[in-house]
C-alpha cells in the first residue's frame, strides 16, 4: 500500500505537524517492516496501473521467481484482486494463463522432477478461498470468482466440463423447494454471468448445458412475476403489467441477454471486454492439462435458530433483498449501453459491483469509476475531449462514461423498496464525481434531473420521488444551490398537489432545512418567490398561538411560561398547572379543560425549547415529571392532545414536528402507536372534516413511528440474546469445572440439573429482558396493525364511514389515469396515499410477514368479502407483499 498518498483532506499544515511528530514515525516504521509477502501482494493488486498488457508477463515472471516460498501470498493477492477489482479480472486471467504454461525460467534446473505448473498450484489455493466465500454465501465474491473462472475457461486454463458443472450447481439452486427470491436471484446471476463470459466455449463442448441453465433461470424469473408490479419505479396502480418504461428488471435483462446469445449460438463475444489471454500461444494440453474445478454444492441458507417467541408471531430475522431489482434508465441506448445486451449487462454489472465494493471510500470510488474505460476495449466509451483520437471505427460504441456512471449511481439510489446502502452514500458519490470532473459529470447530472422531473407526471413512484427530492437538495447544497429553476415556471399553473409541484415545494423545503430561508428564496426566480406554494414569504418558525395578547388563555400561558423561563422546579410548574385546571374560564369553548391545559403546557415547553434542538432537549428533560403527569401511558386522548399541540406550535416548520415527535417517543411520553393514531385521525390540520391523505410529510412521521417500534424490538432482541449467551457460557464454565467451584459462582449452592427452558427463569436480568421484548413486540404489532387499518380506512371507506373519499377508486382506474391531466388536488393526494400504502407494504414486508394473519384479520375485517376495486387492490398489494401471492 502506498502510504504517501494523502487520502484525507484537511489543512496542509495540520498534516505537516502530525507527520513530524509521532505519526510520521509509525508510518515510516510500517513501511520499513512491510513483509516480502505484503510487497508481493501489493504488486499483484496494483497490476496494470500503467499498461496491463505489458505488465502481465513481467508480473508472471516475478511470481515464478518467488513461487516456492510465497504461494499462499500469491493466491491471496489474486483473490483480493479479483474480488475487489472486477474490472481487472480479464488481466488476472491472462496472468494465470501465463503461470499455467511452461515456466519461462527454464524448468530443468536443480529439481529432479518437473513440478506442477504454478498456475495449478495457485488455482488449488485460490479454490479454498472461493469455497470460503461459498460457505459464507458471500454472493458478490462468489460471483466475481466465477467471472475469473469463466475467463480462465476461455483461456484454456480451466476445463470446460468442470466449468459447465460449476454453473450447473448454481442453476440447481433455482429448483430448490421454497427457494427465497434473494437466494435465487444471486444464484441465477452467478450462473448467468458465467455463461455470458464463457458460454461460447461451453456451448461448443460436448457437455454443453447452456440451454438447461437458461431454462432454469427463465422458469425462476417467471414464477416471480407478480411481485414485480410492486417495485417498479413508475407506479401503475391501474394495470398489473410487468413491463415498464424507463426501467429494466435485472433478471428480465439476464433472460433477454441469454436468449439472444442462445439464438445466435453464442456467436457474439462480449465486445467490450478485453480478452488479453487470447493473444498467447495455445497451451499444450499434455504438458499443461486444464485445471479441473472440484464439484460443489451451494450450501443452504443459515436458518436462525435463536428466534424468540413473541406475542402472536414468529420472531424471524428481518430478511431484505427479497424483491426484483428495477434499474432506472435515464438515457438512450446510444448514450448508455442497453442492459439487455451482453456488453451493456456486463458493464453495468461491473459498475454495480464497484459502487458496492468501494462504499468505504466514495472519493476513491469516484476516481476508479471515471478511470473505468482504461480497462475496456478501445471504442467502448467515447474518448475524453483532448484525448487521443481513435480513427472512425464502425464497431465503436462510444458510450458516454459520465452518463453511465450517473445512471448506475442513481439506479442504486432508486432501487425499491430500499437500496442496499444508505441513500446518502450514492448522493455523496455523485458529489465526488462532480468535483472530480465538473465539466463532464455536471451535464449528465442536469439531464438526469430533467428526466426525473418529467417522469413525475407519468407516475414516478412516491418513494422514488421522495429520494429524488433528497438527492436534489443535498446535491444543490454542495454546489451553491445553483439550479435553473426558471425552466419549471410554466408548471406553476398545475394544481399545487400535482407531483411536479409537490416536488418543487419539497425540494425548496429540503434546501431550506440544509440552509436558511433567505438564501433559498434569493436563489429562486421571482415568479416562484411570490408563490406561497413554492416558498412561504416568512422564514419558518414557531407559531405560539397563546402568545397573542388578546387570546383568552394568554395570561394562563404566560403564567406557565414565566415559571419555565425562570427555571422553576417541575413540581412548582405542576402546581401552577393544577391551579389553572380549577380556575381557568372555559365558558367560551367546548374544548375540554384537560385538553386546554395540555395544549398550554406543551406549547409553553416548546416555546422555551424553540431556540434550538438542545434547548428543546433541555426543556423536556428538565420537565419530564410535568410531561408524564400530562399523559399517563394509557391516556390516549392526552397523548393525542400533546401531538396536536406540537403540530400546531410548529406548523410553519414541519421539520421540527418530526424532531419533537421522535424525542417524545424517545422519552416515552408517547408511543409509536399514538403517532400513527394521530396521523390517521386528523392529518388535514384543523379538525376532522375532510378525507385523510398520506403525503410525504405524513409518511415520514409514520416511518419514524414504525422504525422506532421496530428498532426497539431489535435492541431488545440483541439484549436477550447477549444475556442468554452469557448465561450459557457461565453454565458451560460451571459444567467444565465439574461443579467443584460452583460456590464461587452466582449460582445456588447446589448443582442443579440444567434445563434450557428453566435457565431463563433463574436470571432476573434475563427475565426482565424477555418481558421487555414481549411488550415491545406487542407494541410493534400494534403499530403495524394501526397503520394498516389507517390505510384501509382512508383508501377503502365503507358505507357509513364518516369520511368518504370518492377519488380512491377513480385514481386506480386506467381510463381515469389516462385523463390525469385534468386531475385536481384531491385526486393527486389520493393517488399519493395509494403510493404510500404500497410502499408501506413492500418496505415493511419482512415485519408484516411475521404477523400477516393477525394483522390482516384485524385490519381487513371491515372490507372482508368486498369486491370493490379499492378493497381488491388493497388486498392484492397486501398479498404480494406478504408472499401470499406468488
Amino acid at each position: 500500500m502506498n502510504y504517501d498518498r494523502p487520502y484525507r483532506g484537511g489543512g496542509g499544515r495540520r498534516r505537516y505537524r502530525d507527520r513530524v511528530t509521532e505519526d510520521y514515525d509509525t508510518h515510516d516504521r510500517r513501511r520499513e517492516y512491510e513483509s516480502p509477502e505484503q510487497i508481493l501482494k501489493n504488486s499483484i493488486i496494483k497490476l496494470g496501473e500503467v499498461d496491463p498488457i505489458q505488465e502481465v508477463p513481467r508480473l508472471a515472471k516475478q511470481l515464478q521467481e518467488d513461487a516456492t516460498s510465497m504461494l499462499p501470498a500469491i493466491s491471496e493477492g489474486i483473490r483480493i484482486a479479483v474480488t475487489e477489482q472486477p474490472y481487472k479480472i480479464p488481466y488476472y486471467a491472462a496472468l494465470l494463463r501465463l503461470l499455467h504454461g511452461p515456466s519461462s525460467l527454464g524448468t530443468d534446473t536443480s529439481a529432479g522432477q518437473p513440478s506442477a505448473p504454478l498456475g495449478k498450484l495457485v488455482l488449488e489455493d485460490f479454490w479454498k478461498g472461493f469455497q470460503g466465500y461459498l460457505d459464507k454465501l458471500s454472493w458478490r465474491d462468489v460471483r466475481l470468482c466465477i467471472h475469473f473462472f469463466a475467463h480462465l475457461t476461455v483461456a484454456q486454463v480451466i476445463s470446460t466440463e468442470s466449468m459447465a458443472a460449476l454453473l450447473q450447481s448454481f442453476a440447481a439452486v433455482l429448483d430448490e423447494f421454497g427457494v427465497s427470491y434473494g437466494r435465487g436471484k444471486h444464484a441465477a446471476l452467478c450462473a448467468a454471468e458465467g455463461l455470458m463470459i464463457a458460454g461460447a466455449v461451453i456451448q461448443k463442448s460436448l457437455s454443453s448445458n447452456t440451454a438447461e441453465i437458461i431454462a432454469a433461470i427463465h422458469g425462476f424469473n417467471e414464477s416471480m412475476a407478480s411481485s414485480k408490479n410492486l417495485v417498479q419505479p413508475l407506479t401503475s396502480l391501474a394495470s398489473g403489467s410487468a413491463t415498464v418504461d424507463y426501467a429494466d428488471e435485472l433478471l428480465d435483462s439476464v433472460i433477454a441477454v441469454l436468449k439472444a446469445l442462445e439464438a445466435s449460438e453464442f456467436a457474439d463475444p462480449p465486445a467490450s471486454f478485453p480478452q488479453p489471454y487470447l493473444e498467447y500461444d495455445d497451451l499444450d494440453p499434455v504438458a499443461s492439462p486444464p485445471f479441473e474445478l472440484p464439484s460443489i454444492l451451494v450450501p443452504p441458507e443459515v436458518i436462525e435458530l435463536d428466534g424468540l417467541p413473541s406475542d402472536g408471531g414468529e420472531d424471524a430475522q428481518v430478511k431484505r433483498d427479497e424483491w426484483p431489482e428495477y434499474w432506472f434508465r435515464l438515457f438512450d441506448n446510444s448514450v448508455t449501453p442497453d442492459p439487455n445486451t451482453i456488453s451493456g449487462f456486463l458493464i453495468r454489472s461491473n459498475f454495480r459491483d464497484m459502487i458496492d465494493i468501494f462504499e468505504v471510500n466514495r472519493k476513491e470510488c469516484a476516481r476508479l469509476l471515471l478511470e473505468y474505460p482504461k480497462w475496456c476495449v478501445p471504442g467502448t466509451f467515447k474518448p475524453r475531449a483532448g484525448g487521443p483520437l481513435i480513427e472512425d471505427d464502425p464497431s465503436a460504441n462510444n458510450w458516454q462514461l459520465e452518463s453511465v456512471v450517473i445512471e448506475a449511481s442513481l439506479g442504486f439510489l432508486f432501487l425499491l423498496p430500499e437500496p442496499g446502502q444508505k441513500p446518502v452514500y450514492f448522493i455523496a458519490l455523485i458529489t465526488e464525481l462532480c468535483k472530480l470532473s465538473p465539466s463532464t459529470v455536471g451535464p449528465a447530472v442536469g439531464k438526469s434531473i430533467r428526466k426525473l422531473y418529467s417522469c413525475l407526471a407519468d407516475g414516478l413512484d412516491v418513494e422514488v420521488a421522495r429520494r429524488f427530492v433528497e438527492w436534489f437538495s443535498v446535491h444543490m447544497s454542495n454546489f451553491g444551490f445553483q439550479w435553473v429553476w426558471k425552466e419549471w415556471i410554466p408548471d406553476l399553473v398545475l394544481p399545487e398537489n400535482h407531483p411536479k409541484r409537490t416536488f418543487v415545494r419539497r425540494a425548496v423545503e429540503s434546501e431550506m432545512r440544509l440552509s436558511y430561508h433567505e438564501r433559498i428564496l434569493k436563489a429562486l426566480p421571482e415568479a416562484m418567490q411570490d408563490d406561497p406554494n413554492v416558498i412561504s414569504s416568512q422564514q419558518p418558525g414557531p407559531d405560539p398561538e397563546y402568545e397573542e395578547p388578546l387570546h383568552p388563555y394568554h395570561e394562563a400561558y404566560q403564567s406557565i411560561l414565566s415559571l419555565l423561563r425562570g427555571r422553576s422546579r417541575a413540581d412548582e410548574v405542576i402546581a401552577q398547572v393544577d391551579t389553572l385546571k380549577t380556575t381557568l374560564d372555559t365558558s367560551h369553548t367546548d374544548m375540554h379543560i384537560d385538553s386546554i391545559i395540555r395544549s398550554l403546557a406543551i406549547q409553553s415547553l416548546l416555546s422555551i425549547g424553540s431556540r434550538s434542538f438542545s434547548h428543546f432537549l433541555n426543556a423536556i428533560e428538565r420537565y419530564l415529571p410535568l410531561l408524564r403527569g400530562l399523559a399517563t401511558p394509557t391516556d390516549f386522548e392526552a397523548k393525542r392532545d400533546i401531538l396536536a399541540a406540537t403540530a400546531a406550535f410548529w406548523k410553519r416548520n414541519k421539520h421540527m414536528i418530526g424532531i419533537v415527535f421522535d424525542k417524545l417517543m424517545q422519552y416515552q411520553i408517547v408511543d409509536p402507536t399514538d403517532i400513527v393514531a394521530w396521523i390517521f385521525n386528523m392529518v388535514s390540520g384543523d379538525g376532522i372534516t375532510g378525507p385523510v391523505y398520506v403525503q410525504a410529510f405524513e409518511w415520514e412521521l409514520l416511518k419514524g413511528a414504525l422504525d422506532k417500534a421496530n428498532g426497539r424490538v431489535t435492541i431488545a432482541r440483541k439484549k436477550v440474546l447477549a444475556l442468554r449467551k452469557e448465561q450459557d457460557d457461565s453454565i458451560a464454565r460451571a459444567k467444565a469445572s465439574g461443579g467443584a467451584d460452583v460456590g464461587n459462582m452466582e449460582v445456588d449452592g447446589e448443582v442443579k440439573p440444567l434445563k434450557q427452558d428453566e435457565s431463563a427463569t433463574e436470571n432476573p436480568q434475563l427475565t426482565t429482558a424477555l418481558k421487555a421484548f414481549t411488550s415491545l413486540t406487542r407494541e410493534q404489532r400494534s403499530v403495524l396493525a394501526k397503520t394498516l387499518e389507517g390505510f384501509v380506512s382512508c383508501l377503502s371507506p365503507v358505507p357509513g364511514d364518516a369520511y368518504q373519499n370518492m377519488h380512491s377508486k377513480t385514481v386506480i382506474d386506467e381510463h381515469s389515469w389516462e385523463r390525469r391531466a385534468s386531475w385536481t388536488n384531491d385526486e393527486w393526494m389520493t393517488w399519493e396515499t395509494w403510493g404510500w400504502y404500497r410502499h408501506f407494504c413492500r418496505l415493511y414486508s419482512p415485519y408484516l410477514r411475521n404477523y400477516s394473519t393477525t394483522l390482516s384479520t384485524v385490519a381487513f375485517a371491515k372490507i372482508e368479502g368486498f369486491t370493490t376495486p379499492t378493497a381488491q387492490s388493497i388486498k392484492k398489494t397486501w398479498d404480494i407483499a406478504t408472499g401470499q401471492e406468488a
Binding site: M1, V360, N361, L368, V474, P633, K663, N710
Partner: protein, 206 residues
C-alpha cells in the same frame, strides 16, 4: 475488506488534546464511539441544519437515531464558535458519517467529521485564549463564516445567533442526554416497586 482503497471510517489524527487516556485506550473507545466531533462549521449554522444533514446517516430500524447535538460555544461570549458534537445511539451511524458526510458541505462549507471519545462536561466551550477555538487564533485568512469582518450581509441572521445561547449553562446537567433506552413503565395502579435494571445506574452517572 478494503485492500485496494483506504476506508474513510478510520479514526484519524484528530484527538482530544486534554484527554487523560493513553493512546491504546483512546483507540478502544473510538472503535466503539457513537459521538462525532464536527469541525469547520460556520458560526451561523444551526443545530437544526446539522440535524437535517446528520439524520441522513441514522439507522432507526436498528434502534439508532440522533441522541443529541452539542453546539460548541465561545467560552466568553456564549456564541457558536464553529464546532459541535453529534451523538448517535449507535457506532455504525457515526461510521456512516465518516464515510458519507465528512468532506461534504453544510451551509456551503466543507465540514470535517472525526470519531470522538464522547462528550464530557466543559467540552462544549472553545479552548482558545479568546474563548473560541484555538484554530481561529492562528488563522490568517479571511473567513466570513467564522467571524470574519465580511459578515454584514447576514446581519439579521447574526443577531439571532448572538442571542440564542446567551442562556447556556455550565456544570453538571447543563447538557441534556437526549433520552436513553426504552424501559418498561410503571403501571400506576399496581403497588409493585419498579425493578431496578442496570440502565438506571447508567443514567444517574451521566
Amino acid at each position: 475488506m478494503a485492500h485496494v482503497v483506504q476506508p474513510l471510517d478510520q479514526p484519524s489524527n484528530y484527538k482530544d488534546s486534554q484527554t487523560k487516556l493513553d493512546r491504546k485506550r483512546q483507540y478502544d473507545f473510538l472503535s466503539k464511539s457513537s459521538t462525532l466531533y464536527i469541525g469547520n462549521l460556520s458560526f451561523y449554522t444551526t443545530e437544526e441544519q446539522i440535524y437535517e444533514l446528520f439524520s441522513k446517516c441514522t439507522s432507526p430500524e436498528d434502534g439508532g437515531g440522533i441522541k443529541r447535538i452539542i453546539m460548541g460555544l465561545d467560552r466568553n461570549t456564549r456564541t457558536p464558535c464553529g464546532f459541535c458534537f453529534v451523538e448517535y445511539y449507535t457506532h455504525a451511524e457515526a461510521l456512516a458519517c465518516m464515510k458519507y458526510i465528512s468532506g461534504t458541505k453544510l451551509d456551503e462549507r466543507i465540514i470535517r467529521c472525526d470519531l470522538d471519545l464522547g462528550y464530557a462536561e466543559g467540552r462544549q466551550f472553545g479552548r482558545g485564549k479568546s474563548g473560541g477555538q484555538v484554530r481561529d487564533e492562528h488563522r490568517t485568512d479571511y473567513d466570513p463564516g467564522r467571524g470574519g469582518w465580511g459578515a454584514q450581509a447576514q446581519l439579521e441572521r447574526r443577531r439571532e445567533f448572538e442571542e440564542r445561547y446567551a442562556d447556556a449553562q455550565e456544570g453538571p446537567g447543563a447538557v441534556a442526554t437526549g433520552g436513553g433506552e426504552w424501559k418498561a413503565t410503571e403501571v400506576p395502579s399496581t403497588t409493585l416497586k419498579r425493578a431496578r435494571s442496570p440502565d438506571d445506574d447508567d443514567d444517574s452517572s451521566r
